[in-house]
Amino acid sequence: MFTAQNYVMASSLEEAYTFNQKKANAILGGGCFLRLSKKRIHTLIDLSALSLDKIEEFDEEFRIGAMVTLRDVETNDALRASFGDGFYEMVRHIVGVQFRNCATIGGSLAARFGFSDILTFLLALDCEVELAHAGRMPLCEYAAMKPDRDVLACLYVKKNGRRAVYQTVRQTKTDIPVLACAVSVLNGEYRAVVGARPARAMAVSFDPADPDWISKTVNAFSFGSNMRASEEYRRHLAVVLLTRAYNAIREE
C-alpha cells in the first residue's frame, strides 16, 4: 500500500488544484485503487468537503460529482428513469456492494483504466467532464488525454434521449472484463465503444445500413493480449458483443 505523510481537506476546488500541482501529492477518491499503488505520497488531498457527492438532475443533463460513489449511481432513481438499467449494468460486476460504496466516479474516470467498465459505458452516452482549470470538455477528449494534474470536479451526462446497451465478457462474474462493449443510438446515429482491449475504451460511430459495418467497426479498434485473453479472442468477442448490443438496441 501507499504511504502518506499529510492530509488536507480542500476547502475549494482551487485549493485542491494548487495542492495537486505537486507530483508527490495525490487526490484521494474512494481509496480502492489508490491502495494498490506503492507510492510514497506527501499530501493526500480530500475533496469530501466540496459537495461533490451529489447527483443532480437538470433539464438538459445530469451533474454527477466526482465523489459520488459507484453504488450511488447504481441505485439512483433519476438515472434509472432516464437511462433504464444502464448505470446499474455499468457497475454491477465491480467487486461487490462494499467496494462500490467506496469507489468514486471521479476516481474511476481520472485513472482512465483500460479495463474500466465506467469509461466504456459512459463513452457510449454524451458526456462531459468539468475540471478545475481546463473547465468543461467532452469525456472522449478527457479519456484520450494522459493523466495530468488538473482536478476532475464532476461529470455531465446529457439527457438527449441517447439509448445505450452494455455488454461484457468476464472470466468470473466479479472480475474485470475480458472485453467491454457498448452500443448507443441517437436519431439513427450509432456509436460503438470498446474497452478492455485491453487498452482504454474508445468510441467510433458506425452505420448499420452498411453491410460491412461490423467488420469495419471492429477494425477501427486495436486489440492486444494479456493474462486474461489473447488479441485473437478479443477481436472475435468484439464482433459478437457489438452485434449483440446492436441487436438489443434495435429491439428496444
Binding site: 494498490l36 465478457v169 472470466q171 468470473t172 462474474k173 466479479t174 493474462m227 489473447s230
Partner: protein, 759 residues
C-alpha cells in the same frame, strides 16, 4: 445414537459468528516484534553479498538475519510422519535462491512500518542465473535446481538432485502392452493440470515467544502442530523438548497449512533475540510463496472392448515439484491409486511417474493431493472412450465401476469393504434427470445446455503410517474433557469427535469439553490431513470411550461393593443389574475419583489403520454454454457421496458443497501463471480469481452411505474426495455441448470459442 448422523451445531460456532478474537493475529502479544521478509526478485540466483548497514539504522529495527545467521542443516517443510518421504532440500535462509520470492533476509522491528522500511534498504548483490521454468524440460536439464551436496532423501523415493529428480516410480499389474493390443478401442491423450492456490481466507501466520521455562512456544495457523514441532527442531537445530506448538482457531487450510510456511521466521527471531515475534503473510506472499497444488502433465491410454468393458489403463504422470520437494513424492502416488482403482475389472494397469524440480514456487498439499489431477485425466479419458464407443458416459461407468467385495489391485491390494458407488450413480442420474438431459439441448438464444459426469474416490488416512490419539477424562460432577491432537480448521472435527464421544459415553454433547491443540498437553496426532480425522482419530475416540467406560464401571462396582459383572452403565449411572435401585451416578463417581484414590478416571488410546478405505462420489454438472463467447455457466451441480456413515449431516454437506465449488474454480479459471522471468503474474485476489457466489447456481448434495467396518460408526472420510469430480464432469459436459475435448485446465471461454471457430 443421539448425535452421530445428526446435524449438530459446531461447538465453536457462536464464537466464530460473533467475531470473537480466536485466531492467531488476534492473540499476538503487544510487545511482539513484527517480522517481514526480503524476498528474491529472481527465480534462480546466488546471493553474492548483503549489506544491511543502512537498514539496521532504521529506528525500531531489532535484527536482520541472513543466510550467514541461519542454521545449516537441510530439512523439509512438508508436514509428514518421520521419516518424511519429501527430500531434505531446504534451509531457512539459503545463499541459493531457487524461486522468485525465496527469502533473502528476515527483518524484525518494533513496528511494521520500520520493518518494511528496513526491508527496502537492504542492499543485495545477486549472481542471477537462467531459471528452469518448464517442468517438461526439467529432467536431466543442465540447469540444476538443487546442485548442493548436502541434499538428502530419507526415504527411497528415487530422488536424484543431479538430474532434477525429486522422485520417480513405476508399477505394472498384468501385461499392459498385450492388453492394449487386444482392445477394440484405445484412447490416448495427454492432460495438463495447473498449479492452484488453496486461497484459504486466513493467510499463513505465526507468533512465537519464550515461555516461563525458556522454551520456544509457537502459536500458528497450522494443520500439523506435532510435525511443526519436529520440523522446527530440525531447522533450528534445537531439541524437540524445547518446543511447544499451539494451534488456535484457524481460518481454513485445505492442505496449505500441512507444510511449515510462516513458522520458521519468527521462531528464528525469537531464538536470536529472546523476544516475542510475529509474522502475518500478505495475500501476495501467500500466493507467491505458499504451498500450491502440483502442476502435472499426464498421458493416459485407456483400452476397452466393443461392449464397453475397460480392460487396461496406462498412466504416466510428470509432476512439477517446483523449487522444493514438499509432498512431491507422495502426491504423485495418489495420481494412480485413486484414479485407476475406480475401475474394478482391469486386467492390466501401469503407472510411471517423475517428479521434477524447477525454479517455480515449491508445491505442497492441496485437498485431493494428486488424486484430483489423476482422476481428471482418467475420468476424462473414460468419457472420451465412451464417446468413441457411442456409449452414454454413465453407462460405461456402471459397467466398469469398482464394487464391494472386490480386491483393489491398484490400491495396495486392499479389499473394497464398503462401496455404494452404484447407488451414487443411480441417485445422481435421478437428481440430474440425466436420461432427459443427456447429451445436450440447444436453447432459443443459441446457448447449449449439456450435462457431464465423473466419479471419484479418495482415501481415509494414510494406512499404516499416521496415527490419532485422544484422551478423555472424567471430571468431578461427571463431565468429560476430550483432548485431541487433530486440528479443527473450520471443518468441525472438534464437534464431530465430541458427537462420537457423547454417543459412546451416552451423555449430552454439552457434557463433553473438547480441547485441541497444544503439543504439551494434547495426545499425539499426526494432524488433520489425508482425510484422516473422522476415520482415524474418530476410531481413537471410540476406543478411548470403551476403555473409559470400563474404568467407570470398575469404579462404580467398587463403590457399590459388587463385581463388575453385576453392574451396567447407562451414561448417567452405574447400577446393579439385578436391583436397579442400587446405583451411583456419574457425578458421584466423578467426585469419588477425586478423593482418596490412586487413579483419576482417564483413558487414552491411539489408532492407526492398516487400511485406508476409499469414500466414493459421483458428480454431475449441467452447464449453459454460449458457443459464440465460449462462456460456461455451471447452472446445476449434483454430488452424491458415499462417505460411509455420515457423522454430521450439515458439516458433511457443507464440505461437499465447498469442495465442489473449489473444483469448479480449478476447472474453469484458477491457474497460477509465471512471467518469462519466473515471477508469478496472478499474485492477488484481483488477478487470481476464486469463485464468488455469483459464479454458481445450485449445488445439490445427497448421501448414499455404505458401512465401513473398520471406521468409527461405519464412517469413512469426506474432506478431499469432494474436490475431484468437477474438472472431469465439466470437461465431459463441454464435450457434450461442443464435440470438443479439452485436455488442459482450466478450460477458459477463449479456448472454447476459438476451438469452435476452428472446428
Amino acid at each position: 445414537m443421539a448425535y452421530v448422523n445428526a446435524p449438530v451445531r459446531k461447538k465453536d460456532a457462536m464464537s466464530l459468528v460473533t467475531g470473537k478474537p480466536v485466531y492467531v493475529e488476534d492473540q499476538i502479544p503487544k510487545n511482539a516484534l513484527v517480522v517481514k521478509l526480503l524476498r528474491s526478485p529472481h527465480a534462480n540466483a546466488f546471493i553474492t553479498s548483503i549489506d544491511k548497514t543502512a537498514a539496521m539504522k532504521v529506528p525500531g529495527v531489532v535484527c536482520i538475519l541472513t543466510h550467514e545467521d541461519a542454521p545449516k542443516s537441510r530439512f523439509t517443510t512438508a508436514g509428514q510422519t518421520y521419516p518424511e518421504p519429501s527430500p531434505y532440500d531446504r534451509l531457512i535462509l539459503d545463499r541459493h535462491l531457487r524461486c522468485a520470492g525465496d527469502p533473502v533476509a528476515i527483518v524484525a522491528a518494533e513496528t511494521a512500518q520500520a520493518a518494511e522500511r528496513a526491508v527496502r534498504m537492504i542492499k543485495v548483490k545477486y549472481d542471477v542465473r537462467e531459471p528452469l521454468l518448464d517442468f517438461r524440460k526439467a529432467k536431466d536439464n543442465p540447469i540444476l535446481v538443487h546442485p548442493e551436496d548436502d541434499f538428502k532423501a530419507l526415504c527411497p523415493v528415487g530422488a536424484d538432485n543431479k538430474r532434477n529428480l525429486c522422485s520417480t516410480d513405476v508399477f505394472e499389474i498384468g501385461d499392459v502392452e498385450k492388453e492394449l493390443a487386444a482392445c477394440d478401442v484405445v484412447c490416448t491423450r495427454t492432460y495438463h493440470t495447473k498449479a492452484n492456490n488453496q486461497a484459504m481466507m486466513e493467510t499463513f501466520r505465526t507468533f512465537t515467544y519464550l515461555d516461563e521455562y525458556g522454551r520456544l512456544t509457537v502459536v500458528s495457523s497450522t494443520q500439523v502442530p506435532f510435525h511443526v514441532r519436529r520440523i522446527l527442531s530440525n531447522a533450528l537445530e534445537i531439541k524437540k523438548s524445547q518446543i511447544r506448538v499451539i494451534k488456535p482457531r484457524i481460518g481454513g487450510g485445505f492442505g496449505a497449512k500441512q507444510s511449515v510456511v510462516s513458522e520458521l521466521f519468527p521462531a528464528l527471531v525469537t531464538m536470536k533475540t529472546g523476544r516475542p515475534a510475529s509474522i502475518i503473510y500478505t495475500r501476495e506472499e501467500s500466493m507467491t510463496n505458499g504451498s500450491p497444488r502440483h502442476e502435472m502433465q499426464m498421458t493416459v491410454r485407456v483400452g476397452a472392448d466393443q461392449s464397453g468393458v475397460i480392460r487396461v489403463i496406462d498412466l504416466y504422470a510428470l509432476s512439477n515439484a517446483g523449487a522444493y520437494g514438499d509432498h512431491g513424492p507422495t502426491t504423485i502416488g495418489l495420481v494412480s491409486h485413486k484414479s485407476l482403482s475406480l475401475y474394478g475389472g482391469l486386467s492390466a494397469a501401469r503407472f510411471a511417474c517423475d517428479v521434477v524440480y524447477t525454479n517455480t514456487m515449491g508445491g505442497g498439499a492441496y485437498r485431493g493431493y494428486g488424486a484430483t489431477q489423476g482422476i481428471f485425466a482418467v475420468e476424462a479419458a473414460v468419457s472420451e472412450i465412451a464417446a468413441k464407443l457411442s456409449m452414454d458416459p454413465c453407462e460405461i461407468r456402471e459397467k466398469n465401476m469398482v464394487a464391494e467385495g472386490q480386491i483393489m489391485h491398484t490400491y495396495y491390494g486392499e479389499p473394497c469393504n464398503s462401496c455404494a458407488l452404484d447407488r451414487c450413480m443411480q441417485k445422481a442420474k435421478e437428481m440430474m434427470q440425466w436420461n432427459e438431459k443427456y447429451p445436450r439441448k440447444v436453447l432459443e438464444n443459441g446457448h447449449i445446455r449439456s450435462v457431464g459426469v465423473a466419479m471419484a474416490m479418495q482415501g481415509s488416512g494414510i494406512s499404516g503410517v499416521d496415527i490419532g490419539s485422544v484422551e478423555i477424562r472424567l471430571n468431578d460432577d461427571g463431565f468429560y474433557t476430550l483432548l485431541v491432537g487433530c486440528t479443527d480448521m473450520g471443518t468441525g472435527c472438534d464437534t464431530i469427535l465430541s458427537q462420537m464421544a457423547a454417543d459412546c459415553l451416552e451423555c449430552d454433547i454439552d457434557n463433553i469439553a473438547v480441547r485441541g491443540v497444544d503439543t504439551d498437553q494434547s495426545p499425539y496426532d499426526t494432524g488433520s490431513y489425508a482425510s484422516s480425522t473422522t476415520y482415524v482419530t474418530g476410531m481413537a475416540v471410540v476406543k478411548t470411550c470403551e476403555s473409559l467406560r470400563k474404568k467407570i464401571i470398575e469404579m462404580g462396582a467398587s463403590m457399590l461393593g459388587v463385581s463388575v459383572d453385576e453392574v451396567s452403565f447407562d451414561g448417567k449411572r452405574v447400577y446393579v443389574i439385578a436391583d436397579e435401585n442400587r446405583s451411583v451416578t456419574i457425578s458421584e463417581i466423578g467426585y469419588a475419583s477425586y478423593e482418596g484414590h490412586n487413579h483419576c478416571l482417564s483413558a487414552s488410546e491411539s489408532h492407526s489403520s492398516p487400511v485406508s478405505p476409499p469414500p466414493f462420489m459421483v458428480g454431475m454438472a449441467e452447464i449453459d454454454l454460449d458457443p459464440l463467447t465460449g462462456e460456461v455457466n455451471v447452472i446445476d451441480y449434483v454430488g452424491v457421496v458415499d462417505c460411509g456413515t455420515v457423522i454430521n449431516k450439515n458439516l458433511a454437506r457443507v464440505q461437499t458443497e465447498g469442495g465442489i465449488v473449489q473444483g469448479i474454480g480449478m476447472a474453469l479459471y484458477e491457474d497460477i501463471r509465471y512471467s518469462e522471468r519466473g515471477t508469478m503474474q496472478n499474485n492477488s485476489f484481483m488477478q487470481y480469481k476464486i469463485p464468488s457466489r455469483l459464479d454458481l447456481n445450485t449445488i445439490r448434495v445427497a448421501f448414499e452411505s455404505s458401512y465401513e467396518p473398520t471406521g468409527p460408526f461405519g464412517a469413512k472420510s469426506i474432506g478431499e474426495l469432494v474436490i475431484n469430480t468437477p474438472s472431469p464432469a465439466i470437461v465431459d459436459a463441454i464435450y457434450n455441448a461442443t464435440g470438443l475435448w479439452f485436455d488442459t485446465l482450466p478450460v477458459r471461454a477463449e479456448d472454447i470459442a476459438l476451438g469452435l471457430l476452428k472446428k
